[in-house]
Amino acid sequence: MNAAIEAGLYRAFRLNPCVAVHELRLRMRGWRPFGVLLVYSCIATGAVLIALIPLTLGRRYFGTEFFQVGRIAFATLAHTQLTLIMLILPAYAAGAIALEREKRTLEMLRATLVTPFDVVTGKLVVVLAFGATLLISSLPVAAWCMMLGGIAPDEVFYAYSFLLTVALFVAALGMMCSAVMKRSMGAIVSTYGILIALGVLSMVVPGILMIPMMSSSGTAAFGPIAAFAIVLVMALVTGWLVYLVVRAVLRRLLGPVRALLAALLAVLVALVWMWFLISPSGVVFKAVENSQIPWLMALNPYAGLSSVMGGVIAEMLAYGPGGPMSGRASPPTALIWAVITGLYLLAGAALWAGAVKAFGRRGY
């Protein structure tokens, strides 16, 4: 790295960028990053093409007018990318510190002048940069979706900025688990566990907990920040419990390699199950929709993405529980986007700070 940039970063942020440079060398070398990028692009593009197949069969697409086809294509692209980001980044982030601990390279690093802030930030920035690379690689497909019509540039901006914020949140969560856990497998399993718990709980728990707390006017009793905090804490606790059970079972039953594969398979099955539950036709989605707590639903990553893209939940946020006929003033989409992405940004920053603290305490 250029000496002036290095010195400038240190002067401005007290950040020694050596860990970031080192991580970039390690992570971007060889065929693996390009392989992941290729698979990512293929899946994202393939999902869009599959979503558009019915278009070739007739003018109408599930009762949708032709001008909305571009919108459907882009929504498919964005949701597929959200799934891929939440699948790929935890594996990258959760191993970042714990793997070094396992390989006994961390001890020598801790004896140098690098600080916990340098280590965690350097690794987080590189994971985030990889996430951003994945997202950027899909921009040509997004541009193609825009050419089909029905999508405005600001909607693309809202969707991509939301995806980037989720990437930060997921990477910071993985980094936190990596800093706390002794083994990389524990860190990876707990990261996926917390994500699954967050996805499920942000749909199920608010529905159960908040119904009695609804005021007579029919709006949620809690603000979005308090609600998000409740869901996050519950997700962390549940994810931890899930991890403890999975680890206890797998350690007794299987060797380390089989245990890792089995845990990954379990995570995949759980993700599919979560998708089934919260998909627009899913039971949970409908139940929570009926309970009319749209802000809390928007805290689910998928529901959040739908919201910033002006989906069903955004409509509920805009018009209130009564829908478009309620006559209430509608908040602009920009406000919905700002609140939801802001919450993920805050949570990501808090987890980042937590990871620095945890790493500083735990050491090598």
Binding site: V21, E107, M108
Partner: protein
């Protein structure tokens, strides 16, 4: 340079280091000896600021390891007993990374890397991948890494463990070179003859407690009850042995394998008077030498193998 006073470290009920105190001066090569589990690695880790002590204090270059960890890290080079290397990383990149971690300016790094590679005889491996190096080379590379910021103090935990004889000799020669460069070295090892060749001071530790610390020659002399001399003559060996036994400066004289082994208890630095007496008495002296400190013997006598 390094001062330890009443250093203590506990892991649960186990007292790994118990009230340890010693001092190492600038330029000393200090051997840290003890059986497995004696507390050597724990002590070195506390000095490297990687473990906080539970009691006592330790300073390196006048900096307290607890209160000023950054200042301590800046002046030490730490080499652990077991260490991993990064995959997909070249030798020069590895050294560049650690130099940057010690905040060595970017423009100074290329020359520094060339220098440490030359010192550790790895210049020809500059562009090789680290994980492809042999164990001995990795060990030398790790030593090169500890030198990239030109530290005054080196904390080396078993630097030659697991190496074949040739690699051990290479490491030993490298360490001797570092001693000549006036580095202060704290080295723990099980390979005692190597420590005897390298170190001027030793500390023996067992069960977390210091058994003995001081100058190698003084300690072995004290334990032997004096300085051990080895004398060879071409003839009249038994007669010479009896002659020596009668001298007041000689505590004991025994016949060894083709030589006389005697313990000198006279004034320090006057051993040559024994040689003069032998020559004046007409004995055909072929060789006259002091026996090197036998660390192994010392170690076995002082430790009981509690930790092994």
């Amino acid at each position: 340079m390094i001062e330890i006073n009443g250093l203590t470290k506990k892991f649960g009920n186990l007292v790994a280091v118990n009230d340890l105190s010693f001092r190492i001066e600038r330029g000393d090569a200090f051997g840290f000896v003890g059986p497995n589990g004696a507390g050597k690695t724990t002590t070195i880790k506390m000095l490297a600021t990687l473990l906080p002590p539970d009691g006592g204090s330790a300073t390196v270059n006048g900096h307290d390891v607890v209160k000023e960890p950054e200042a301590v890290r800046a002046c030490i080079g730490y080499m652990p007993d077991f260490f991993g290397v990064y995959d997909d990383m070249k030798v020069w990149e590895y050294l560049d990374f650690f130099a940057a971690a010690y905040r060595v300016a970017a423009q100074k790094r290329p020359q520094l890397i060339r220098d440490v590679l030359e010192l550790t005889d790895l210049s020809h491996k500059r562009d090789d991948y680290v994980d492809a190096l042999s164990r001995g080379m990795k060990q030398r590379l790790c030593l090169a890494k500890t030198l990239v910021h030109d530290p005054d103090v080196l904390l080396l935990d078993e630097p030659a463990s697991g190496l074949d004889p040739r690699a051990r000799i290479e490491i030993r020669e490298l360490l001797q070179e570092l001693v000549k460069m006036d580095k202060t070295i704290l080295i723990s090892s099980h390979i005692l003859p190597e420590l005897a060749e390298l170190c001027n001071k030793i500390a023996i530790i067992e069960g977390g407690k210091l058994v003995l610390a001081g100058d190698v020659k003084e300690i072995s002399s004290q334990l032997a009850g004096g300085l051990k001399l080895i004398i060879r003559t071409s003839d009249r060996l038994e007669e010479a042995c009896r002659f020596l036994a009668e001298r007041p400066e000689i505590a004991s004289a025994e016949l060894g394998e083709g030589c006389i082994e005697c313990v000198y208890r006279g004034p320090e630095g006057q051993q040559h008077s024994i040689l003069t007496c032998l020559v004046q008495a007409g004995f055909p002296v072929q060789s006259f030498s002091e026996e090197e400190a036998d660390l192994e013997d010392l170690y076995m006598r002082l430790t009981q193998g509690m930790g092994s």
